[in-house]
């Protein structure tokens, strides 16, 4: 159940966004994608799912090329959670049931309902199952979206900034959840993150990209001060807290700020 990406290229008109991106991930691995705004992280996820058709390269899921597949067939292999999503008036159950859409013709089978119930239990959403999505908190809504993607029974999960609008507690909850389901269901999760420390805490592999090119791909060891400076043009120190690497920007945040009022 590996995910192999080989030489993906994509450009908007003449502007290249992805240049020859390749990576390989094994089942159960959570891969964090790190990079500054506009580095091509979101484009990479969309190109993998073929929401954007790449100009070159291949994507193989379990050795099968997705290039020739229909959008429905791809949706049975890969779940995708975009950065932004509208909210609509559905019950949580119905919102998750929508993840079965790529599998069903029109009618909902007993198996579809079973999958939904299983996913709801897996994500601890049983108490909310019959409530309207519009009544949920931000963290719960994000869990519903992850549940929907899991109801697709995907081999690969593509998540674009899933914890961006969540408070610290919910960020850790949702990331922990992703960590757990990725391992339990033995799938590959590619997660675009802005928070390097959450990435270091929860991910197995790290894909560092800048201007559509891979800077580094590997385990925790690739998150070095040098690489972080390349990615974000930022000086950092890597410390260790509870055995987990923690990236801290240099300086106390005040020293190099100009004084508010200059007195002569």
């Amino acid at each position: 159940m590996t995910l192999e990406i080989e030489g993906i290229r994509f450009s908007y008109g003449r502007t290249p966004v992805l240049r020859q991106v390749s990576l390989r991930a094994e089942p159960g691995q959570l891969v964090a994608i790190l990079g500054e705004n506009g580095s091509g992280k979101s484009t990479l996820l969309r190109a993998i799912h073929r929401l954007l058709v790449p100009q070159g390269g291949t994507v193989l899921v379990e050795g099968r090329a997705v290039d020739r597949m229909s959008p429905r067939q791809i949706a049975r292999l890969m779940g995708y959670l975009p950065q932004k999503s509208s909210e609509a008036s559905f019950s949580v159950f119905d919102a998750v049931l929508l993840g079965r859409a790529p599998h069903l013709q029109w009618g909902v089978s007993d198996r579809d309902r079973e999958v939904v119930l299983r996913v709801l239990a897996l994500l601890g959403l049983e108490a909310q199952a019959l409530r309207s999505v519009l009544e949920l908190s931000g963290g719960e809504v994000q869990k519903v979206f992850i549940a929907r993607a899991l109801a697709q029974e995907p081999k690969v999960l593509l998540l674009d900034e899933p914890i961006n609008h969540l408070d610290v507690k919910n960020q850790i909850d949702v990331m922990g959840l992703l960590r757990r389901v990725t391992a339990e269901l033995s799938i590959v999760s590619l997660v675009v993150l802005h928070d390097i420390n959450n990435a270091l805490r929860f991910a197995d592999r790290f894909l560092l990209i800048k201007s559509g090119e891979i800077v580094a791909f590997g385990g925790q060891e690739v998150v070095t001060p040098a690489n972080v400076r390349t990615l974000y043009n930022l000086d950092v120190t890597v410390a260790r807290v509870d055995g987990i690497p923690v990236v801290v920007p240099r300086g106390n945040g005040k020293a190099d700020a100009p004084p508010a009022i200059r007195i002569e």
């Binding site: 799912h49 959008p71 890969m78 919102a95 409530r131």
Partner: protein, 352 residues
């Protein structure tokens, strides 16, 4: 399956049952209102008379009134209401804007302009009874062409300039204004009888419908209805945005184009047959969202039924308000629809 899961399954079944019951109540309301529409009027008939006439066991006058005047009127209300209601629901979904409807997208105004153009350039008057059959058909055809031209222009704008779906509504407003001005321009240079005929077209009237019109409207509605219902899951996915829908395997561009074309066709045929009937297409989906939420497996059929119900009720009102004068139903729907919409928009909606 754990007890928890069984509880959810039961509760979800009840939720679906509730939504199905809403559809059932609507269906019953449509049947009852249709019977009422057959009974009321300047020549009142008892429910017994109506049923007897429908069964073909009525005397000459009653049979004539029911068969030739009230039945086509009621059936037209059901078919046209369903067409406008479902077209509105689909447009609101694929354009991602709660203000979308045949009326707000300029489809209706395009049709009214087409009709006005035919009336003025043919030199005759297409008003009821005055027109020859040929003129009436040409006028309807021209109205249809006007409606399709509006939709084609909006679709081309969206394809060429890659307008965001929400911007389409603004394009529709611009098209409405353009066609409105063009219609007024024609009216300014038309004779009195032509003016009367063009104005007549701008407010829809159920009395205009003959069985031929009803057949035409049904022929347009039936395949569109099947297409819409088949794509219910696609619309449900679109409710969460294009990106989410794409991730769920929906071919967003194709669904949007096909749905806009089909809903515009249905609306265009309705306007061509009856004239402009505002607000039904806009309000019916909003009312139903209030009861069944955004699940299009229920929202679409319910919006169609609600459209029929609203148009039947408006028709009954239009004949009772100033009896024996019959107010065109288009005026009643707009009068009743506008405040209703305001009320609905001010109330939130959280239907599970």
């Amino acid at each position: 399956m754990s007890g928890n899961a069984a509880g959810i399954a039961t509760g979800y079944g009840a939720l679906l049952g509730h939504k199905a019951a809403v559809a059932g109540v609507l269906l019953a309301a449509v049947v009852l209102l249709a019977l009422a529409a057959l009974a009321v009027g300047s020549y009142p008939l008892s429910p017994g008379d109506v049923l007897a006439a429908l069964a073909g066991r009525a005397d000459g006058v009653t049979a004539h009134i029911i068969g030739n005047i009230r039945l086509p009127r009621a059936v037209a209300a059901v078919v046209a209401g369903a067409s406008l209601g479902i077209a509105g629901a689909v447009m609101q979904n694929v354009i991602r804007n709660p203000l979308a409807s045949p009326f707000t997208l300029g489809v209706s105004q395009g049709a009214a302009f087409g009709a006005a153009l035919a009336i003025v350039s043919l030199g005759g008057s297409a008003a009821k009874g005055l027109a020859t059959t040929m003129q009436a058909w040409l006028t309807a055809l021209s109205a249809f062409a006007g409606a399709l031209a509006t939709v084609a222009a909006i679709l081309m704008l969206s394809a060429l300039r890659r307008l965001a779906p929400a911007t389409l509504i603004l394009a529709g407003v611009a098209m409405s204004a353009l066609f409105g001005a063009a219609t007024m321009f024609l009216q300014y240079f038309s004779t009195d009888s032509q003016l009367a005929a063009t104005v007549f077209w701008t407010f829809g009237d159920l009395g205009r419908a003959g069985w031929r019109d009803i057949l035409l409207m049904t022929a347009a509605l039936a395949p569109a209805l099947a297409y819409f219902l088949w794509n219910s899951w696609g619309y449900n996915a679109l409710e969460w945005g294009d990106e989410t829908a794409g991730g769920l395997g929906v071919s967003v561009g194709r669904l949007r184009l096909g749905s806009l074309a089909a809903s515009a066709l249905v609306a265009a045929v309705t306007v061509a047959c009856l004239g402009v009937i505002g607000f039904v297409g806009l309000v019916a989906p909003h009312i139903m969202r209030f009861f069944v939420g955004d699940d299009h497996r229920f929202l679409l059929p319910c919006s169609a039924l609600c459209g029929s119900m609203l148009l039947l009720a408006a028709d009954i009102l239009s004949r009772l308000l100033l009896a024996p004068v019959v107010v065109p139903v288009g005026i009643v729907t707009t009068f009743a629809g506008a405040p209703l919409l305001l009320y609905l928009l001010m109330k939130g909606r959280k239907v599970p």
